[in-house]
Each structure stands twice: as C-alpha cells, then as structure tokens.
C-alpha cells in the first residue's frame, strides 16, 4: 500500500510539467493533425455520421450514432457525438436520445437530423420486424441480464448465488440460466399474465427489497424487452442458437487530450453473418483507470496521460478501444530522441512510441552501469573486479556489443564464451521456478533429473521450440528422463493444460475450467479441448530400484478421454485457436507440440518474447507477463511484432533475442527518471530498477565479502543461483526473507520484486550480513592483513560491490569514515556494510 501511495505521489509530482514545447511541432507532424481541434472553435467544420444508414430490425433494437469531424482519420478525429442536437423526422417511426441513441417506434423509413452549430447532416433510418417480433432468450434476454450485472461473479453468479437465485457467470450456460429464471422455485420468478409484476422485474426495479438495488428501471426498453419475453411465456434457448463470432468497437483507437470524451459504438457479428449494434448491452470496463474512464453507456473519458484502453464485452466476445493521451513532453525532446537514433530497429520503434506519447527518454547510462546491468541480467552474477577494470579501461568502441556476446556465449570462441555455466544456471533457476521443480513433489532423483536436463538444455542453447517440445512430449523413467517429471508436477489433464497454456502460451485457462473466460473468447469447450491433449498420459510404478525405489514411468496409453463437465460429452483435442488436432494415430501431445511451436501460432513466440523483455527491461510489453489476450494489448504492439519476427528468424535461439535487446540503446538508458518521464512505468522511457533476486543477491554478497554461504547437501562453492531444489526457499533465512519462490505456482509473480521491511531489517541488522562483513577470512580482513593503504581499500570495495571506482566525494567520505572508527578494520567493515546496504548495490539500476 505504501508503495502504491508512493508511486501515485510520484505521478502527481510529474504532472505539472513544462508548458513550453518546441518539440510539439515535430510531434504534430508525426501525428498529422492531432492539434486540429484548436482551429475548430467555430464548430462549422463538416461532420460525418457513423453508421451511414440505420437499420432497426425488431422493437427493442437500438443504434448508437457517432458524429465526428468529416475527413479526419478516425483515431485523430474529435468526437462530436455529445455536442450535437438530434431530431427525428418522424418520431412515430424512430426516436433518438440526446446521446444519439436511435430506437424503434413503428415500422417505416425516416431520417435523423444532426445539428452542430451551423453544420447539419442526416442519416436515414429503416425500422422493420416489429409485427413478427420474437424475443429470443439467448440473443435478447441474456444480454440484458448480463449488462445489468445480475450474473456478475459477486452477485447471482457467485457460488451459491444470492437468495437462492443462481445464474451462470456472464451467461455462459443459457440452459441453466433459463431454468433458474423461468422454472426453478416453481416458476415463482416470472408471471406470464402480469409480466411487470414478475418477481424478476420487481426485484430488478427495486420495487421489492433487492440486495443488488435497482438494476433495470421500469419503462426502459430493456424492461419492456424482459416483460415482452415473460408475456410470451418466457421461451428457453432455441435448439440452434446463432452465436456471436466477432465484436468490433468503434473507434478502435483514439489519440487525444485529457478530457476529450469519446462515445464508443460496438457492433457484433453473428455466425449467420448478421451485424448488430449492441452498444446498449455491452459491458464497458477501463483497462487502465489511470488513463481513461468509461461510463456504463460507453462514453470514454481520458483523464490521465499515457496509453489506456476500454474493454467492451458482449456475448462471450471482447474487443478493446485504445486511447493515447500524450504527455506534455520536454523542451529537449528532440535531443532525447536523437540519443536513440542508432539504426537499431528496436530503438526506432521505441523512439516512435516516445514521440507519439510525448515522453522523453532518459539519457544513456555510463559504461559501468551497463556492465553491471548486463552481467546481472545475463548471468545473475556481478563481474569480478578484474573484469570491471578491464571493461572500463577498454577503448574499444564496440566493447558493449563484445560484452553482450561474451555474456551470452555468442562469440564463437570457446575461450571467450566463459560465462556459459553461470548463464545456464541462471536460466535454469528461472525456468525451474516456473516449471516448479521441487523434490517434495518429484523426489530427490526426479528433481535432479529435471534439473540436469534444464542445465544441459540451457548450456547447449537448445532452441526454445525444441526445449518445449521435449518437455511436453516427454515420457519414460522420471529418474532418467528429466522432462518426464513435468507430468508428475502437474499430474492430470486439467492441471497440465493450465500450466502448459500459462507457461508457454501466456494464456490463463483457469477461468474457463468452470465458466466462460470473462475477458476473452475462451470458454469451457476450449479448456476441455486443450486438456484432451493430456488425456492419455499416465504414470506407472516401477520396481527397478526396489519396491520402495520410487521410480515412476511416464507412459502414453491408447485410451483415456476428458469429458466436458456440463454436457458430459467427450472433448476432442483442440488447440486454443479452435483448430482440431488430427486423430489418435500418434501421441496427442506430439500434435500439441507441433501446433504450439508452429508458425501459425503466435502465442508461443509472443509469450517467450514477453517474458524475455520483462526480465531485461523490467516490465513485459504485456503485463502480467503470462496474460496475453486481445483485451490486454502490448504497450508497444510494433515492438512485439518486431521481436517475434526476430526470435523466429533466430530459430528460437533465446540468446539471439537477448542479444538483439541488449545491444539496443533502449536497454542502456539511464534509470534516473526525468521530471517529464517519471510517471511512466510502461514504455521503458527510463530503465527500471530491479532489486537483485534473492539468490543473486546472496551470491553477490558472497562475492563481495569473499565469504561463501555453504548450502546444505551441496558441494562447497555451490552458488545460490545453482540451487536445484525449492527446499532452500523454506530453510535458508536469507533466501526466505528475500522471497526465493517455493515453486508452488506457475506464475512469475510468485517471485515478489517488492522490497519489504523484513528485508531491510535483515540486511541492516541481520547476523548473516554482519558476520560476512566481519569474517576473519573475508575481504576486509584480507585487505587489512595485506597492509593495503586506505585509498586502495576503498577503491577495491567500490569496484567489488558497485562495479565502479568511487567518485571523489565518495572517496573522501569513505576515508573519513575509516578515520573515525576505532580501528581501520572496523572502519572498513562499517564501510562495506554501508555499501552492501546501499541502493547501488541492492539494485540492478
């Protein structure tokens, strides 16, 4: 909470930014006319109405009109919908509300006139289908119920419903809903003879006490719709419902200033090809409340700066309208952008985004910062003092690129690729956390087998598609086949489907296990179709190592199915994009792996790109990193496409993707925020500072103090990043405090990046750090024993801990601290203690 408050304060502080902006000219050029509203005061510019013709087929249909300046690109055109006067030429045929919503009154053709100042335009309206009106339960009734919020998870769709009335979440189960409304409790919720007196409507209007209050006012079209349905005998779902197959929100993107409201219009496409304005029954939610808010009617109002979105949901489909509200920029915007002009495609896309947002990037950081950042990011370890001195002394203009190649093992020269092992350990740690390698679950032998397979895979830079294929198609003894343990960590089709989708496709299936996913088009069919890929994996015992040997063999059987819990039908294996898998001539998982890694499936590459970006730049293009969906778009879509293409052309060699990012100037920006970009935590305008993860921090303290932690049961010298098991997350007090994951979850969020009080106490006042600093064989003791002069001691401590020499001021401060202590040894210990507690040590910055 404190953190959030702090961040909020920071944003507020950044808002009163500079008014004078010469760069705005360049920006305006780029946006072609975003500032046109300035010359629009007279209000007599030509207007344009969307849609060009209104067709209302049925008594309860409604159409939202959008009015904007004619000729402009939709994403730049100011919305005039709320500034116009609407008049129906024949109110007996069609009515129009002050907000521009047209509804039917009688069959026929008429016209809506739209006036704004002296400008006029009109749109033709045709009303049909009133006589033969039939209210359809799925097409008409459920959207009203959903829009009113009756079937929200916190209301009648909670586990036990409310007041004995239980609906399915967002109407994913129409049969259940119809029974609940019209059949159960002896049909007491509806009264066909007196529709308005039905308990359903009495509750919804608040006429009788209702815990949910007023949901649907009397004498509204939705009320009339429900009454008409009840009056017709409350017919249930038809035998062949026409499903919604697509949803479009208009405008799909807007760039505008804060306060410029935009009415949204939502059109659904049905399986029979029919298109229908469903704005009235769409649920609108802001994706980032800090940037844009939205009313239940779909009026979006940007109020913060940055990039936000509004999610529109209807009929199990979802679409997003994105809003960009440029920041105020900075006087040196051009110079700031020029710093990024490197010719690197990533820098070009970053710069374009910065320009669009009016967000100046921070200046580049110095060599020492890049060195430390790259070492910790790529290998989880600090450079040695020798490596630091050599790098800083080098005059090679290409030294940063050479550094990245050495760290990633891409030099082609075995003598220079000397970080391979450490890097493999670092990558192994990361993926072992996510795959949840844990001896408490798979036993000691299984844990080691999986660990060794991971280490070997990363040591040999196995392409990521092959890595995942080996994992999800593994079989055999869990003692000898490391990846086979994947099928013991999650050991049933549902869990395997969920973890596989989340880890490698960035898709959270969990919601769809019990109901339609609230934010995307994924439903129970998709869930069980995906789970069916794992229906035939099984384990059997083996007595190869004795009856208590614990060996298990992962096998694929000839039979085994997953059934849909609602329909009971056997679910055929189907990929998440709906493509069905071929028959069972082969292991279903082979088909799954083929689909996952195929060029036709973008989720696979996007997922690993996003995770890589998050680990290097501190934040994914999509957050949370494993929640890729259409309603959670990347902060920079072009950058995502570029990196996906890059990864594909690198044959899924993650090192080359990392190299691509780490050799950009974007990666080497300073973490020092500017007044004008401090509020940004999405677009990489300044490098994100990251606290060293638990294991890397302990290793770094060991390296700096020269006192190694002995990890139980492992050879002396084993580093914390090399720990194969999750056990230390519960036993080593340092690692516990700093949040080493217990490997209980496939979510990267299990490793909490936030600083906390217990951690502060542990380094400030804990015995572990205190003992290492004062150790008789530690760095300070060695320096003192060698009679090193104070200046050289200070230099050594700085280079070891912060990977840079001290500044003049720091040197003076350090020397006076040593002089003030009772003995030089105590002074050096105090100094080292302070360095290890300083931000320049605790953070990658």
């Amino acid at each position: 909470m404190a953190l959030t408050a702090l961040r909020r304060r920071r944003q507020d502080a950044a808002l009163p930014a500079l008014r004078w902006m010469p760069w705005v000219a360049a920006l305006a050029l780029l946006l072609r006319g975003v500032s046109a509203s300035a010359g629009d005061a007279a209000g007599d510019a030509a207007i344009e109405i969307v849609p060009g013709r209104v067709e209302l087929d049925g008594p309860f249909e409604r159409v939202q009109l959008l009015v904007r300046a004619a000729g402009a690109e939709p994403r730049l055109a100011a919305d005039l919908s709320r500034e116009c006067r609407y008049v129906s030429a024949d109110p007996a045929v069609a009515e129009v509300s002050p907000a521009g919503v047209v509804s039917a009154r009688g069959e026929g053709v008429t016209r809506i006139d739209v006036e704004r100042g002296s400008t006029r335009a009109s749109v033709e309206v045709a009303v049909t289908g009133l006589a033969a009106a039939r209210v359809d339960f799925e097409r008409d009734v459920l959207p009203v119920i959903t829009r009113a919020g009756c079937n929200a998870g916190s209301c009648h769709a909670s586990q036990y419903g409310k007041g004995g009335f239980v609906l399915s979440v967002m109407a994913f189960d129409p049969a259940l809903d119809h029974t609940a409304i019209a059949v159960s409790s002896r049909g007491r919720r509806i009264d066909a003879d007196h529709p308005a007196g039905s308990l359903l409507l009495q509750k919804a209007t608040g006429n009788v006490p209702h815990g949910g209050g007023l949901r649907i006012a009397a004498d509204t079209p939705d009320h009339r719709l429900l009454a008409a349905w009840i009056g017709a005998g409350a017919p249930g779902p038809g035998p062949a419902p026409v499903a919604v197959t697509g949803l479009a929100v208009e405008p799909a993107a807007r760039v505008g200033a804060a306060g410029s409201a935009q009415q949204l219009r939502v059109v659904a496409t049905y399986a029979d090809g029919r298109r229908r304005d469903v704005t009235a029954w769409t649920r609108f939610d802001a994706i980032d409340e800090g940037v844009v808010r939205v009313s239940p009617e779909g009026l979006a109002t940007p109020h913060g700066r940055g990039q936000g979105g509004v999610m529109a949901r209807f009929g199990g489909e979802a679409a997003v309208a994105t809003f960009v509200v440029p920041y105020e920029g900075a006087p040196d915007m051009a110079a700031r952008l020029a710093d990024l002009a490197s010719g690197h495609p990533l820098d070009a896309l970053a710069a374009a985004k910065f320009a669009e947002l009016g967000l100046p990037p921070s200046p580049p950081c110095d060599d020492a910062t890049v060195l430390r950042r790259a070492f910790l990011d790529a290998t989880g370890a600090l450079p040695t003092p020798e490596e630091t001195r050599a790098f800083l002394a080098s005059a090679d203009p290409e030294k940063r690129v050479r550094l990245v190649d050495e760290l990633l093992g891409l030099t082609g020269d075995p003598a220079r690729d000397r970080h391979l092992d450490r890097r493999a350990a670092w990558q192994t740690l990361r993926w072992a956390d996510l795959i949840r390698n844990n001896s408490a679950v798979v036993g000691e032998s299984g844990m080691w087998a999986l660990h060794n397979w991971l280490r070997e895979s990363f040591r040999t830079a196995k392409p990521f598609d092959r890595f995942v294929t080996e994992l999800v198609t593994a079989r055999g003894s869990v003692f000898s086949s490391g990846p086979a343990n994947y099928f013991r960590i999650a050991n049933n089709p549902a869990d395997l489907a969920e973890s596989t989708a989340q880890l490698f496709l960035g898709t959270r299936l969990q919601c769809a296990k019990c109901h339609h996913h609230p934010y995307e088009r994924m439903g129970q069919d998709d869930y069980y179709g995906f789970a069916a890929f794992f229906a035939r994996v099984a384990t059997k015992g083996s007595a190869e190592f004795g009856i208590f040997g614990g060996e298990t063999i992962v096998v694929v059987r000839d039979s085994g199915e997953v059934s849909h819990p609602r329909t009971g039908a056997v679910a055929a294996p189907a990929a998440l994009d709906g493509t069905a898998a071929p028959g069972d001539a082969e292991d279903r998982r082979v088909a799954l792996a083929r689909w996952m890694t195929s060029p036709g499936n973008d989720l696979f590459a996007r997922n690993v790109v996003n995770r890589t970006v998050a680990s290097l730049l501190g934040r994914g293009l999509v957050e949370p990193v494993d929640d890729l969906r259409s309603t959670n778009p990347p902060s920079n879509a072009a950058m995502m496409e570029l990196l996906v293409a890059e990864l594909r052309s690198a044959g899924f060699d993650l090192r080359r993707l990392e190299r691509f990012i780490m050799t950009s100037r974007l990666y080497a920006l300073s973490s020092q925020p500017l007044e004008a970009n401090a509020a940004d935590d999405r677009f990489y305008s300044h490098a994100a500072v990251k606290r060293l993860p638990a294991e890397a921090l302990l290793d770094a303290i060991d390296d700096v103090t020269l006192v190694r932690t002995k990890h139980p049961g492992l050879p002396a010298g084993t580093r914390a990043i090399e720990l194969p098991d999750a056990a230390a997350a519960g036993t080593n007090p340092f690692l516990v405090t700093f949040g080493k994951p217990k490997r209980a979850s496939v979510c990267e969020c299990e490793r909490s990046p936030d600083e906390n009080l217990a951690q502060a106490l542990h380094t400030l006042n804990g015995d572990i750090l205190a003992a290492k600093v004062a150790d008789g064989a530690g760095r300070v003791a060695k320096l003192v024993a060698a009679g090193t002069p104070p200046e050289a001691c200070v230099e050594e401590l700085w280079v070891a801990a912060l990977c840079r020499p001290p500044t003049e001021a720091e040197r003076a401060e350090a020397l006076s601290a040593i002089a003030l202590a009772p003995t030089p040894a105590e002074g050096l210990q105090d100094l080292l203690w302070a360095l290890l507690n300083s931000k320049h040590f605790l953070f990658v910055r």
């Binding site: 815990g211 949370p624 007044e675 969020c749 936030d754 605790l842």
Partner: protein
C-alpha cells in the same frame, strides 16, 4: 490495492430468519459475567492474540469431554466442573474450567477438514485451500489494512509452528510485505534475543549509529537528483522504519521479557508457551496489532493421554493467566484472544491409544473485545462426533475475527496478476458480536 468500503447493512431474508431464531437459548451461559465482558468494542484499535496449537488438540480430552460415553470414546480422563453450572471439562483443564467466566467456548465448530496444512491455511484465512490463489491470513490482512501502530511491525508470529505446506499463515495475494515478522527464539530461555531486531554479534548502539551515518551519507552521494525511481523511495521508507524499529527503546523494551516481574512470569508458567503468551501481551501493549502464538506437538495419533498430560498443563496455566493479566490491565476490552487448533479428533480411541484427525467437530475459544465471558455455545452429539446445535464453520470464526478487528467482511483486493480477490465469504458468529 483497492480498499472498498464495507457493505451497507441490509436485511436479507437469511438475516431476518437468523433474527427470529436468535431467541433460542444457547447451551449454557453465565449471565452476570456475560454482561460484564460485553463492554468491549470492535474496530481498528482492537488487537488480537491468536493462539494456534498445531496438530489438532483433542476436543474430547480437553473442553468437550463425554463422561457418559462408552469407555472406547470417553477415555481414561476424569472431568472437573467449571464456573458455568452443568458444564464440565476434562481433568487436564482445571484452571480453564475455573476461569470460564472470562471467555466463550464454541463446542459446535465444524472444521470440515481433517488435513494438517490445509487447517493452517483455512483457520488463519477463513478460506479453504485453492491451488490458484493463496488467501492471506488475518494477521496479514490487518497489516495491509491498518498498517503500523507504533515502531513495531503490525503482525508478529511467535514460534515457527505454523504449517506452511498449504501456504497457511502467509500474506498470499497481499505480498511479502504484509507477512508476519517471525520470532522463533524461545522467550523462556535466558539468552532470548530476536533475530534482525536485536543487534547482531553483540554490536554496540554507537556502532550501529555510526554505520547508519555512513549509509545515509553514501546514499546522498549516490543520489543523482531529488527525483529517484519509485522502488528507491520504497526502500527509503522501509529503511527508516527498520532503523526506528531497531533503535527505538520501545522495541527493545517490548522484547525485553526479563523486565516482567518474576512473579507474573511464574503465573503464566515458565514454559515456552507461557512465556510466548506474556511476550504477546507485551507486544500488544507496544502497538503490535496481531500476534500469532504457535505451539507444536498436538498431533496425538498415539498415546494421546500421555501426550496431552505433557502439553496441556502449559496451556491450562497460560491462557487463564493471560486473560487475567489483560483484564487487570484493562486491555481485555480491546484485545481479542482466540485459541484454535487444526480440527477435532476421532471419538473412538485407536489401538495405539491415540485419536486420529476428525473433520466434523472441534472447539474454538474466544475472549475479549466484547466476546461474552462464560458462554458455552453449541454442543456436540453423545460421542462428540458432530455439532448438534449452533453449528459454525471456520468461515464464521474468521469472519468474527475480521469483525472484531474492524476489517470489512466483503474486503476485496487486487492480486498481483490483476484479479480482484474477495478475501472472505462468511458471516460472524452472532452470539459473540
């Protein structure tokens, strides 16, 4: 994170129904004392001492004996009468029996669970284990919602006897920041010191001050501008709090259990359990909002009666001493004391003279903060196997704690992955409000 306002009070059909039934007599009560203890309040100024006897303390052999049941159920222990006429406890609880006027006993708790680990998660959070989400324990919710009251952390756990295998007793979705500050050292030991709070390696305060000075000066030199990344601001806040905690005389005083009069320490019992209780009281006095006192060794599958004869005296001495001490200091009105354990144990004594896990009956003790004293709520059937009346599930017990501590019952927070999470679903035990 979001902090929604409490739900407006509203009459539902269910609550009206409950009101109608409210007139039924509870099993037994002591009217005078009930009135006395009702003076307590609920709200954010109420602190909580949560006693957790880990493993599953047998209800048959402590607070819910069945002297008329067959010997295979009854066991070898006799009974003693309590301060409430007609209510008897096992002979292992003479002091708890005498002091029943200070607390309420729920005999009709239905744990609906017979697994260790799951119990720790469920009893401390009010939620069954869910593989996709870790629900925060109440102590963490208090820390998250109410924050610091003094230099001391808002949530402290004494002892390590909380089973984490199903993520019990953790901050879960609220984030590490709101976890318990754990003190594992034995306060009954002469050399009691608190890791990370007591200065390491016997370091003098002057040296700590010197180090702090160096750190502050280096930090100023490292700082390029007034503006710094938000994570740095957060660290600054934590360091400030940590230094205050380390150096505040209040902190050292709170943990300085040796400052207690020897006689009072004797009253609590010179056991690890008794001394943890007196330490818990000191911590509450010093501004800690929620203290978990954990105690091991209650999983008596074998030799149940010998085991209980070993474990129970410390509890029988400690809890009454704590309640008397809190009352004497006028703290009981704003200190909620809760005693829970994993679950009940089997009515039938097994061949190893033990009792196994029992999912459908157990007891809960609550005192202070307006919980009526001398109230024995509900009863179990003849064999102590299932509640017969006033059955309450774990959710209700935890909802009662939420209510007493001023936490909204419909509290919803946003998890790290963006999901809105409602922390609790349940209604408080109305007889204890």
């Amino acid at each position: 994170m979001d902090r929604p306002s409490p739900a407006p009070g509203r009459a539902t059909r269910r609550s009206l129904l409950a009101g109608a039934l409210g007139g039924l007599p509870v099993a037994a009560a002591l009217p005078a004392l009930e009135a006395l203890a009702n003076g307590g309040a609920a709200g954010r100024d109420v602190s909580c001492i949560f006693i957790w006897t880990q493993g599953g303390t047998s209800h048959h052999d402590t607070l819910d004996p069945k002297p008329r049941a067959s010997s295979g159920v009854r066991g070898p222990l006799g009974v003693v009468s309590t301060a409430v006429p007609g209510v008897v406890f096992s002979e292992l609880c003479p002091r708890l029996a005498r002091e029943l006027g200070r607390y309420s006993l729920l005999r009709s708790w239905n744990p609906r669970n017979a697994g260790h680990g799951v119990a720790d998660h469920w009893c401390m959070s009010g939620r069954n284990v869910n593989p996709t989400i870790v629900y925060p324990c109440v102590g963490s919710v208090v820390a998250h919602q109410h924050g610091f009251k003094s230099a001391l952390p808002p949530f402290i756990q004494l002892g390590s006897h909380v089973d984490r295998s199903s993520n019990g007793g953790l901050p879960g979705v609220l984030g590490l920041e709101h976890g318990a500050f754990e003190v594992h050292a034995d306060p009954a030991a002469d050399a009691f010191s608190v890791r990370d709070i007591t200065p390491p390696l016997g370091m003098e305060m002057t040296r700590i001050d010197r180090r702090r000075g160096i750190l502050e000066r280096l930090d100023r030199l490292q700082r390029a501008a007034d503006l710094q990344p938000a994570a740095f601001d957060a660290l600054d806040e934590h360091y400030k709090t940590a230094f205050t905690m380390i150096t505040a005389p209040q902190t050292r005083a709170a943990f300085d259990i040796a400052a207690e009069p020897a006689g009072l320490r004797d009253d609590y019992g010179r056991t690890q359990f008794g001394q943890r209780l007196i330490l818990a009281r000191r911590l509450v006095e010093a501004g800690v909002r929620f203290v978990t006192v954990s105690d091991p060794g209650w999983d008596h599958h074998t030799d149940c009666f010998a085991g209980l004869k070993g474990r129970m005296p410390a509890v029988d001495q400690g809890i009454p001493a704590l309640l008397a001490d809190l009352a004497a200091r006028g703290l009981l009105e704003r200190t909620l004391v809760v005693w829970m354990t994993d679950f009940g144990r089997t009515p039938k004594i097994n061949p190893a003279i033990g009792r196994d896990h029992w999912a459908s009956a157990g007891f809960v003790v609550m005192a202070g903060a307006g919980v009526p004293g001398g109230l024995v709520l509900g009863e179990t059937d003849a064999d102590g196997g299932a509640p017969k009346s006033h059955e309450y599930a774990t959710e209700s017990v935890v909802a009662t704690i939420y209510h007493k501590l001023g936490l909204p019952l419909d509290l919803t927070v946003t998890a790290a992955d963006g999901r809105p999470v409602r922390l609790l679903e349940g209604e408080p035990i109305r007889e204890w409000l």
